[in-house]
């Protein structure tokens, strides 16, 4: 390396960059496979930037240019402007409410000439920076509940805004930052409680309310029976168990129905029920009408019921078999059976075209990237860089899990893109910026940034 000239390559973790490039190329190829029609003039349509794969290539080009610019930036720039960017992001989110354009029925997009900006997507970078900044501040003692609450507020505020823009998927993404907080000292109990709560919610949906209440009561009584000696010594434990029992039954009886009735759209509730394989019965006329409307919409798109997407997606992936049908040979993905397949169901193209083997290799690529990012995070000298790196890993991990889980019917259908692969300019640029900032920070890993 030439020491004199300012070089962007010094200290850069090339393995991450290569994996990034590889994933982007797989993405463009998958979009090509999903949208190409027999007899299209590939070169002509590529150069005219009319087709999705040529547009995605253009975004990819822009992303690389942006990435290069980021690599040329000083690392201190990011710590210095983190809070400013957060503010900027929040303002953008607020600007959505008066200025959003009504495309695709979402209320989260601002139209800027040729480009559609989705602040909720972009804001992830800013939140990640701001969270890293807050956690790395010297006066922050993350073992204190107050700091933990501030960090949680920092993260969940944009989530609330996203939810208000009807972007439930993107709102959920912000919860992934709890992984960062966990790394930085958030009590493990929080995650355990969160997980238990999730189990309780699913159990609420799966079981009859009374049955579940009886089961919970039984668990409480058995616990008290086994803990009777400790209870004799410490009265507190009895009240703790009783309190937990009251809490669980309360969640099961009141919180979950309240949450479903007021926080989620009826069609989302229906999707959750679809994912766990139960029929959703709307409670009142208004809800029923909304579900019907939503069904009608998806029927128009796909010609079948709401569960159609997942079923077709499973058929597509399942029919790939061990070795797959080959590129451009998937009947499910080529002939329009899977709706939304360039964005939400892009994994189907890989699953059908390259089978279990291809999907496995593809998933391993993601896993290696994630583990590499964790390794990179742990070698940082500065807390800021480490937090930021964990943030990147957490967001990417969450996106992959939800997107692929949705395609194979493990998770309710929530429309969030597969990082680097799904079609969409904002999504690709956001993840690219995110990753290149990480690479930039990592290049200066010996520096202490605050």
């Amino acid at each position: 390396m030439n020491q004199n000239s300012p070089t962007i390559s010094r200290g850069v973790d090339w393995s991450i960059v290569w994996m990034y490039l590889f994933l982007c190329v797989i993405g463009i190829m998958s979009i090509f496979a999903a949208t190409y029609h027999e007899g299209d003039n590939v070169l002509q349509s590529f150069l005219s930037f009319k087709t999705d794969y040529s547009k995605q290539s253009l975004y990819f080009l822009i992303a690389i240019i942006l990435g290069t610019v980021i690599l040329l930036t000083d690392s201190k720039f990011f710590t210095a402007t983190a809070n400013l960017f957060y503010l900027f992001g929040i303002i953008l989110m607020f600007l959505v409410f008066p200025f959003h354009s009504r495309i695709k029925g979402t209320e989260s997009i601002i139209k800027l000439g040729l480009f559609n900006l989705q602040p909720a997507e972009l804001c992830k970078v800013f939140v990640n920076l701001a969270l890293a900044k807050y956690l790395s501040q010297q006066d922050t003692d993350f073992s204190k509940t107050k700091s933990q609450l501030i960090a949680a507020g920092l993260v969940l505020f944009p989530a609330v805004l996203s939810r208000l823009q009807s972007e439930t998927g993107l709102a959920l993404v912000y919860f992934s930052f709890f992984i960062v907080m966990y790394r930085e000292g958030l009590p493990g109990a929080v995650l355990v409680i969160g997980f238990s709560l999730a189990v309780l919610v699913v159990a609420t949906l799966l079981l009859e309310p009374n049955t579940l209440a009886i089961i919970l009561t039984a668990i409480a009584i058995i616990s008290i029976y086994f803990l009777r000696r400790q209870i004799k010594r410490k009265r507190k434990i009895f009240f703790l168990v009783m309190g937990l029992w009251v809490l669980c039954v309360g969640v099961q009886r009141f919180a979950v129905p309240f949450f479903f009735d007021h926080a989620l759209e009826p069609y989302q509730v229906k999707r959750i029920y679809d994912a766990i394989g139960r029929d959703y019965v709307p409670k009142n006329q208004a809800q029923a009408e909304q579900v019907m409307k939503e069904e009608e919409k998806s029927k128009k798109k796909s010609g079948d019921d709401g569960n159609y997407n997942v079923r077709q997606s499973k058929i597509a992936i399942g029919s790939g078999g061990v070795l797959g049908k080959g590129l451009l040979k998937g009947t499910q993905t080529r002939y329009g059976f899977v709706p939304e397949q360039r964005t939400d169901f892009i994994f189907d193209t890989i699953g059908e075209g390259f089978g279990f083997l291809g999907s496995f290799i593809f998933l391993m690529l993601y896993l290696i990237l994630l583990l590499r990012i964790v390794t990179v995070a742990e070698r940082q000298r500065s807390v800021f860089s480490r937090c930021y790196a964990y943030g990147v890993a957490a967001v990417i991990f969450f996106h992959i899990t939800i997107n692929i889980g949705m395609a194979i019917g493990l998770v309710p259908v929530i429309g969030i893109p597969l990082p680097f692969v799904s079609y969409g300019g904002t999504s690709l640029l956001t993840f690219s910026i995110m990753l290149f900032i990480l690479v930039r920070l990592d290049a200066d890993r010996q520096m202490v940034l605050r």
Partner: protein, 695 residues
């Protein structure tokens, strides 16, 4: 730097790896373990299209195609692709109104439930309409003309024996053990049905890819799994289409049948049934209408009388009776009977056309003069033959002879639905006469009346046996088919020579032949004579009765004629039956004579063409059919009126009910009050009016 919480990186790694493991496990379940998704994906995207093969062609003896394939067009519509269609213009071209157009569109949408699928808007377009549409089809996006192969009959002839094809019904599907599929066309009658396995060919299968809206996107896997359709094999027949055309022409406006067989091979040269129809009427755009019309016609144009019409042979039976008696040895060729115009030996009087003494002085004379007394006596001698001990045994022996002549049982020819005719058993007479009967009871069997009934096909076959002096081949139309393997057993039975009556002496045959030749030379059928050809023939005149309006009436006699020629080396045997036409010599004989000349000389003399015109233009349709049609139609109208309470069904019958009834009554010649209560078929007619009992 803070080292606390260092260990949590591993927890996070663990979470990542565990989650990915769950995803991979799920993928393994979907892609490797479960196989149902492959099948579902196939069902989604692959459309198996059946490719129908061309049916085999049927050729006549000179290699001329008499049943061919042609293409007709259907107008198809794809509702989703309709854009800016000038509905009025299209309706004009199709000759329908806008209301009908809308009704059909609604129908198409209702039936398909898929706007992207093409379905038939108007099928089997007439050629001129198709031409007009072809020119303008670009004006109607969403509408396309689609080819459809149908059967064509270039000679407009041989409808009854060629048969027709139709869609399979559930009974055929089950019988074929689901070899056929819904929508297949199979032969439903005639040669089309009998030789279905030869003519049908082999279905092909095309695998096409369709998208989520069922639109075809191309072939699947480049047609790797496609199978080509194999065209049906063609049939070569004995039929002479020129002879067939002449036969059908001669049968115009007549009820009856003609069968011509080559005695040397059993090959059927011509087979006509009157009234007939143009087979093309049952393939083209009007086929439903035409079929409905024909099926309701009481004269029965759809009935193949050559194998389904039952006739009393009348005097045409006499050569057979003579042969039996000669073989049994009860008479010799010089045996004579003193007939003076009637046979009275049985008490009741059987009239004879001849009075002068000596007209039945020997077998030859009796045959040429068609003496009723002589053959009544010969019949009685045969069944009362002392060597059989009693009339019942004698009758059974006589019946054996009949069966050997191919009468009273199916011949098993290569057409479906053949009638067996009727030669009654002794049990029938035992039942009718409580066992008390003798040779006098059924003496008219000797002159081809009583309960004896034959089909023209059986009669022609019996002539073949006489011409061949005792052997025959089962009459058949198909000579061979293309690509016939040596072990194909389909035609084997037709190539087997049946030596049924070769034990009868040559002298007996010669005696009969001489008598039959005299019929033409000097006897009843002098009109049938053709210079330079020795024809052996026999006329016949059978009495006919029918039930009309509850009364038994006598109809004009059936005109029958049988012959074969040349006597020395028989090349053709013909049986002709013309219902209610009078003497055998009047109509049936000249018809047969024309056919003989046409076949043996390959052409007709110019002066004979006038005869062809005379016969073909004669209208011999029985008058009672009009009344029968009226009764049928009005009964049916009344039935529908009762079902629907729509007086429209009845109105047209009220209007001309009086005049129609009057004219029908006037035209019926003579009414005889019904005698026998045994007559039960009051409202069940058979279209030929043949099944009525005799005195």
């Amino acid at each position: 730097m803070p080292v606390f919480n260092q260990s949590r990186q591993n927890v996070i790694r663990l979470i990542f790896v565990a989650t990915f493991l769950v995803i991979v496990a799920r993928l393994f379940m979907l892609q490797v373990v479960s196989s149902k998704y492959q099948i579902q994906a196939m069902d989604n995207a692959v459309y198996k299209k059946v490719v129908y093969p061309d049916r085999g062609i049927i050729y006549d003896r000179k290699g001329r195609p008499i049943l061919n394939n042609t293409i007709i067009f259907d107008l198809m519509v794809t509702p989703a692709e309709i854009k800016n269609v000038d509905t009025n213009y299209l309706c004009n071209l199709l000759a329908i109104d806008t209301a009908e157009f809308n009704r059909r569109m609604k129908n198409v949408l209702f039936k398909n439930r898929n706007r992207y699928l093409a379905s038939v808007f108007e099928d089997l377009l007439p050629p001129d309409m198709q031409a007009k549409l072809e020119e303008n089809i670009w004006r109607f996006p969403g509408f396309t003309l689609v080819e459809r192969p149908i059967r064509a009959y270039p000679y407009h002839a041989a409808a009854h024996l060629l048969g027709y094809i139709g869609e399979v019904d559930s009974a055929i599907l089950r019988r074929s053990k689901f070899f056929y599929q819904l929508g297949d066309y199979v032969g439903r009658s005639g040669l089309e049905q009998y030789y279905e396995s030869v003519l049908m060919g082999q279905r092909g299968m095309q695998h096409l890819i369709k998208d989520n809206r069922n639109r075809i996107q191309g072939s699947w896997e480049n047609g790797k799994y496609d199978t080509a359709a194999i065209a049906g094999r063609s049939l070569r027949t004995y039929l002479d289409i020129d002879l067939q055309l002449l036969a059908e022409k001669l049968m115009t406006n007549k009820v009856g049948s003609i069968v011509a067989i080559d005695p040397k091979t059993g090959g059927i040269l011509a087979m006509a049934s009157g009234p007939g129809f143009d087979p093309n009427d049952l393939t083209g755009p009007e086929k439903q209408k035409n079929y409905a019309k024909m099926v309701l016609d009481v004269s029965g144009p759809l009935l193949n009388r050559a194998i389904n019409g039952r006739y009393e042979p009348g005097s045409t039976f006499k050569p057979l009776g003579g042969l039996i008696a000669l073989d049994e040895g009860v008479i010799t060729p010089s045996y004579g009977y003193p007939c003076l115009g009637a046979y009275t030996a049985c008490g009741k009087v059987i009239k004879c056309e001849h009075k002068e003494p000596g007209h039945a002085a020997n077998l030859r004379l009796a045959l040429s003069h068609s003496c009723n007394s002589y053959f009544s006596q010969v019949y009685r001698l045969s069944v009362d033959n002392a060597q059989y001990h009693g009339v019942k045994n004698g009758y059974m022996k006589w019946k054996q002879y009949m069966n050997a002549f191919g009468l009273g049982h199916r011949l098993d020819i290569d057409l479906p639905g053949e009638d067996s005719g009727n030669i009654p058993d002794t049990s029938v007479y035992n039942k009718d006469y409580r066992g008390q009967w003798n040779s006098c009871t059924n003496v008219t069997l000797g002159i081809g009346q009583d309960k004896m009934q034959v089909t023209p096909m059986q009669l022609a076959n019996a002539m073949c046996i006489i011409a061949n002096k005792g052997y025959y081949y089962i009459p058949h139309i198909a000579e061979k088919f293309d690509g016939e393997a040596p072990n194909d057993s389909l035609l084997a039975k037709f190539r087997e020579r049946h030596e049924v009556l070769t034990h009868i002496s040559d002298e007996a045959y010669e005696a009969i032949h001489s008598g039959m030749q005299d019929v033409v030379e000097s006897g009843t059928a002098a009109a049938a004579k053709i210079p330079g050809i020795n024809i052996c023939a026999k006329t016949g005149t059978a009495e006919k009765y029918t039930i009309l309006d509850g009364k038994r009436i006598k109809l004009p006699n059936n005109s029958m004629f049988v012959c074969f020629a040349p006597r020395e080396n028989p090349k053709i045997a013909i049986a002709v039956a013309v219902e209610n036409a009078g003497f055998g010599a009047t109509w049936a004989a000249p018809i047969a004579s024309l056919l003989l000349e046409k076949y043996l000389n390959d052409t007709l003399r110019t002066e004979r063409l006038k005869e062809v015109e005379r016969i073909s233009s004669a209208n011999l349709m029985p008058a009672y059919l009009k009344r029968k049609q009226f009764v049928e139609d009005s009964t049916r109208a009344y039935y529908y009126f009762n079902l629907t309470k729509d007086t429209g069904y009845l109105r047209k019958f009220y209007k001309d009910v009086k005049q129609k009834a009057d004219s029908a009554r006037k035209s019926v010649p003579k009414t005889i009050p019904q005698k026998s209560p045994a007559i039960i078929n009051k409202n069940k007619y058979d279209s030929a009016g043949n099944k009525n009992p005799k005195t």
